[in-house]
Symmetry: C2
Subunit: 133 residues, 2 copies
DNA sequence: TACAATTATGTAATGTTATTACATATGTTG
DNA sequence: CAACATATGTAATAACATTACATAATTGTA
């Protein structure tokens, strides 16, 4: 058995590449890694990425224009809150976390103003412990 | 007197365009708006944007690849904390705010892990009160 | 099974965002 | 003024993403 059922061939290939990477990958890097699997055009990657995002199996890092596999696939914590990322500018490593207090504070702010949130991005760029040392 | 002293001609022109806009603008839209002022190439815009970002007079919206004038220029609140944005997907309007509790929670998280933050992005995409109604 | 509808895929072309490289000008300081 | 740093002009190219159109595979159902 491969990664996860209910995925199409291309989705499974793209997810596999992301899972094996220890840093975020751009769509074009993914494309290059899948040339040998028959990928020829960006759209093949972007379509798979869209579906994987829908299914919550990957995340898009807006400040990087790149993608990572979800670190908590299957766990319940992912399902009820905004995911935050700490991204090392030196080694590229990404830590995924979430914080209920942050969620609540942002929810309070939006609720007070009648703003209806759809998707929230929280990304901390900086240096991880190893690289800052 | 124009916008703000200590700005070069191009920086002042770009900042002016952003201040007059009620929605974020991409670098290329700014370029088009400044053709009559002698702008010919993207780099003229990007260089001005870089300097304005350094000076804290504008913000870059990562989820939009676009730029807005800082809503709190000159106020002290801006200087000690991460700025957050609520961005309406319908009308494009952006609300800028900041929240000390959120800042503290994120600082606690990074401190506990030895992560040294350099720049934090918080962007809430959704529908503003008017558009959600 | 056969059919229709939906979903996934392949390919090319194009659109949008951002940077590199190189030349020239302007401003500041000793 | 000379040396240095900063700002600007221009062209080319790189990186990221979408539109348009054609074909194949899958799914639901009569």
């Amino acid at each position: 058995m491969t990664s996860t059922p209910t995925l199409t061939k291309n989705q499974d290939l793209v997810l596999g590449v992301l899972k094996r990477s220890d840093a975020p990958l751009s769509a074009y890097v993914i494309l290059d890694k899948l040339r040998d699997n028959g990928f020829r055009a960006p759209l093949q990657v972007y379509r798979a990425l869209d579906k994987l995002l829908e299914k919550g199996l990957i995340h898009r890092l807006e400040s990087l224009n790149a993608f990572v596999a979800c670190a908590h696939s299957g766990e319940s914590c992912c399902s009820h809150g905004t995911v935050a990322f700490a991204i090392c500018n030196a080694c590229g490593h990404v830590m995924e976390f979430h914080d209920h207090t942050v969620d609540h504070r942002l929810a309070d702010w939006t609720k007070a103003r009648g703003f209806k949130p759809e998707k929230t991005t929280i990304e901390i760029r900086g240096l991880c412990a190893s690289c800052a040392a």
